[in-house]
């Protein structure tokens, strides 16, 4: 008997330390996405996209209603907003499944330091949430767009980010790491409103697309990259695996499409005296997917031609991109500084303080080496007559 009493006493602390925070699924409001905008008076407007789990029509016969709804509130900071938003909800706001955070352009330019803290502090927040900057529209308004495929549009945004090679995918974690690290600045994807036509009516419906990159400097937006520059930037990201490169051929009046399957970029920092030099060595492997010219790609000479054209294209894009971040924005989003720090921590101390200035003055050379693994099993295009093919 005494033994059981002892066991009981031992069990009490085991049980009372447990997680008693049980919540039924029916009692939580699943927040799928958050849009944050800066108001004119300096307050922040937060818009939450909350999914509505409707009983599936197949078993119950209930007509499917809206799959999501939005609530929006203005407040001073995240805590204030959270409190105000909860007052509008019959269910507990549940942030663990939030897949995207959209930041309006004005707020991004103002700086997102204030709200970043709450995202990283609350345990229910996911660090794997994707971050976007919304250009040309209020972030809250973009959440209103009905997306035909996915249950909720935020899911669509997540899926778009997972698709690699189409844009940079930055999670909250990436953003926090980049902004906390030395010698690198965060860059996030940009969303833009666009339109589509639905099948039934001729009216334009709202939609969004991913376009370009937003460059941050100490948590504030400084500028944008366009699509071509973003693709150049992607070389430095680990996710450049399924990218496509299109290059015009100098002769043979056509162009070729190249599908990248693997890539490697090495940054070689070098410092002679006060003169900072970087060499970017780009290597890529891939397959030829399209050939609009009359060249027979089976011929080694022609292949060399195509390779040269592709390499020139990549080199050109890369130089444009580097020039833009060096001279226009003076922001190192690639992490040249990080590489330099890793290679030579001693010399890094000299440039550490004014890295952006040093970065802007650095000389960056680029060399590209692409390998064509596969020309698509056939030599020249099938539809060409024999005499049209250039051997």
């Amino acid at each position: 008997m005494k033994r059981w009493l002892r066991i009981g006493i031992l069990l009490i602390p085991l049980v009372i330390t447990g997680c008693w925070d049980r919540m039924e699924i029916n009692d939580i409001g699943l927040v799928m996405g958050t849009g944050l905008d800066l108001m004119e008076d300096g307050n922040i407007r937060a818009t939450l996209q909350i999914s509505v789990p409707s009983p599936s029509s197949q078993t119950t016969g209930v007509k499917e209603g809206d799959r999501f709804f939005l609530i929006s509130e203005v407040g001073k900071n995240a805590f204030d907003l959270d409190q105000k938003l909860q007052q509008k909800m019959s269910r507990t706001l549940f942030f663990s499944h939030r897949s995207v955070i959209l930041i309006g352009e004005s707020l991004a330019r103002h700086g997102i330091n204030d709200i970043l803290d709450s995202f990283s502090r609350h345990p229910r927040n996911r660090l794997k949430t994707y971050v976007f900057v919304v250009k040309g529209m209020k972030a809250g308004d973009l959440l209103q767009v009905h997306y035909p495929y996915e249950l909720v549009p935020a899911e669509a945004l997540k899926e778009m980010q997972i698709m690699r090679g189409e844009g940079i995918s930055t999670t909250l974690r990436d953003f926090l790491i980049a902004s906390a690290s030395e010698g690198i600045n965060p860059a996030v994807g940009v969303l833009e409103p666009t339109h589509f036509f639905s099948s039934s009516q001729k009216v334009k419906d709202e939609l969004f697309r991913m376009k370009g990159t937003a460059i941050f400097k100490s948590s504030a937006l400084v500028g944008f990259l366009d699509n071509a520059e973003t693709h150049a930037f992607l070389w430095f990201k680990k996710n450049k695996k399924t990218d496509k490169i299109v290059a015009d051929l100098p002769e043979g009046n056509g162009n070729v499409g190249y599908f990248l399957t693997s890539s490697e970029v090495i940054i070689e920092p070098d410092m002679l005296g006060n003169h900072l030099k970087f060499h970017v060595d780009i290597k890529g492997k891939g397959n030829l997917f399209e050939n609009n010219s009359r060249l027979d790609v089976g011929q080694p000479n022609n292949q060399k031609l195509i390779k040269k054209a592709l390499e020139n294209r990549v080199e050109h894009d890369m130089k444009v991109f580097l020039r833009k971040i060096q001279t226009q924005y003076k922001t190192d989003i690639v992490g040249f500084g990080q590489q330099f720090q890793r290679k030579d921590p001693q010399k890094w101390r000299i440039v550490e303080e004014q890295w952006d200035r040093h970065f802007a003055a650095a000389e960056i050379s680029v060399s590209v080496n692409l390998t064509i693994n596969n020309t698509g099993a056939i030599g020249p295009s099938l539809h060409l007559k024999e005499k049209e093919i250039m051997k």
Binding site: W20, R22, I25, N26, L30, S56, T59, S96, H97
Partner: protein, 510 residues
């Protein structure tokens, strides 16, 4: 306190009416036939199957008295082997001793107690005038069904014969597998009233003597009114205080018993039941089927792994579902959570209650299907499937994911080859669901720890229950996780626990 508790729980031991026995012990067979007849008739008052047959000598005096119970004797044997020889001899007034009667076993006794016992076992008792002892001859008839495929452990490949209710037939089956005089069978009679035969069987030299001693001691110390099935003995000999995990293996298959004997284990055969007990047993034995050793080893290993996986599912699937959906929604992939949420939207009950309800319903269905006559049995499954699977979900009382989880668990429990292992595991689910519903994954971790502690603590006749994993033995463990090819030497003839435990066991005893 504990004595009081046990008395309160079990009740005081039954008082056996020993009046008849005392008379039997005191008196002996007399030399007068009529006295003996009167005594037997008095003893078997109101027993209509008693037959007393007197053989008269030429002078008309009763020379011999033959007594038997017609319901348990072979009447043909009685007339051919007992009556005829004695009648012939009665005329020739010669004496005839028990040895010259051509029946299997015969005993000469003058003790009434023994004679009555033998009479009740189907012996014919022959009293001769002028002699103070009686000859008891085996003419009992073995009423038994034919040998059939065991229903509790069916196999595709392997012997299809199963034990039956008659012990002697069972022993015969076993003798067919192991033809050696080293196969020992020690007989015990248990039950003050039922006088049930119990055999402790082992192979001398292979079986661990300490285990045999323990079994012998435990069986010898059993005091009960009656033993109707081996379950009585199983409960009385196991050392497990909370018998959720059986420390005794129960089987209906002679090949399983033979395999166990070859591994150095001890079998206990009880009369009147086809279920034989095998001890000691480890947790891993419970996960092995006899077929493992008949199939090719890759297949057997694969199936064994499937069993381990489904053992986990059988214990933890419903509680994991409850824990994750009530306390850890962030762990579910978003799209899955959305579909669970939409399935649950109309359900008014908390997940835990819902799951418990469904589990209980499933157990009820199972029990009903088992107990019902076979002809109505199908109705239960149809009604069950329609009502639970279809109507309850459509009505929004139960959500579809719960039905999926519960039915998966139900199937998983059937994967466990030894049914008595599955029983405990089915029972364990309920407290774990409760813990999972209130404490989340932490509760599951707690219960897992608790189960592990309990199981590791268990011993089956001196052998730790988790051998060879918990007292670790690399050699023996091969046969637990894989069915090792026989040519590698680890097969049926190597005792899986023996090598692993012998050393620590000895240390413990001395």
């Amino acid at each position: 306190m504990t004595i009081w508790l046990r008395k309160w729980l079990v009740g005081s031991p039954p008082i056996i009416d020993e009046r008849d026995d005392t008379i039997l012990d005191k008196e002996d067979v007399t030399s007068i036939i009529e006295q003996n007849e009167a005594f037997v008739k008095q003893m078997f008052q109101k027993c209509s199957d008693l037959v007393c047959h007197k053989i008269h000598a030429v002078d008309g005096k009763a020379k011999r008295l033959i007594v038997y119970l017609e319901t348990i004797t072979d009447e043909k044997k009685v007339s051919d082997l007992v009556l005829k020889p004695y009648e012939r001899i009665a005329e020739e007034t010669e004496t005839l001793d028990s040895e010259s009667i051509p029946v299997g076993k015969s005993v000469t006794s003058s003790n009434w107690a023994e004679i009555v016992k033998l009479l009740l076992r189907g012996y014919a008792i022959v009293f001769t005038a002028g002699e103070t002892s009686a000859v008891c001859l085996t003419v009992n008839s073995l009423v038994h069904r034919s040998i059939e495929e065991p229903s509790s452990e069916p196999v595709i490949r392997g012997p299809k014969e199963g034990f039956i209710e008659r012990q002697s037939v069972n022993v015969g089956l076993l003798r067919n597998y192991i033809r050696t005089p080293r196969l020992k069978m020690e007989a015990f009679t248990l039950g003050e009233i039922t006088e049930t035969n119990v055999l402790v069987t082992y192979i001398e030299g292979l079986a661990d003597e300490s285990v045999v001693d323990q079994v012998r001691d435990k069986i010898a110390s059993i005091r009960v009114d009656g033993v109707l099935e081996s379950g009585y003995i199983e409960e009385l000999i196991q050392d497990n205080p909370i018998p959720l995990f059986p420390t005794v293996q129960v089987t209906e298959r002679p090949d399983v018993v033979a395999g166990g004997l070859l591994e150095g284990r001890v079998a206990i055969l009880v009369d009147n039941t086809p279920f034989v007990l095998v001890v000691p047993v480890t947790f891993w034995n419970g996960m092995q089927a006899s077929e493992d050793y008949y199939l090719s080893y890759p297949v057997a290993t694969f199936v064994r792994w499937i069993r381990f996986i489904f053992l986990f599912i059988a214990i933890f699937a419903p509680s994991l579902f409850v824990a994750v959906t009530t306390c850890h929604q962030e762990m579910i992939p978003t799209s899955l959570l959305l579909s669970i949420a939409s399935a649950r939207e109309l359900v008014p009950l908390p997940v835990m209650i819902e799951t418990l309800l469904m589990e209980i319903m499933f157990e009820a269905l199972r029990e009903a299907g088992l107990r019902l006559p076979r002809t109505i049995g199908q109705t239960v499954s149809i009604v069950g499937a329609l009502v639970i699977g279809q109507a309850a979900v459509q009505a929004g009382i139960i959500s579809a994911p719960t039905v999926i989880v519960v039915s998966m668990t139900g199937i998983a429990a059937f994967v466990i080859p030894r049914f008595n292992f599955a029983n405990g595991i089915r029972l364990l689910r309920f407290p774990i669901i409760f813990l999972a519903g209130s404490l989340g994954l932490y509760g599951i971790a707690l219960s897992f720890l608790g189960i592990l502690l309990h199981v590791v603590h268990l011993k089956s006749f001196g052998v730790p229950y988790f051998t060879p994993v918990a007292p670790f033995s690399l050699r023996a463990i091969k046969d637990v996780w894989f069915r090792v090819p026989r040519k590698n030497g680890v097969g049926i003839s190597i005792p899986s626990y023996d090598r692993a435990t012998k050393a620590p066991q000895r240390e413990g005893r001395e």
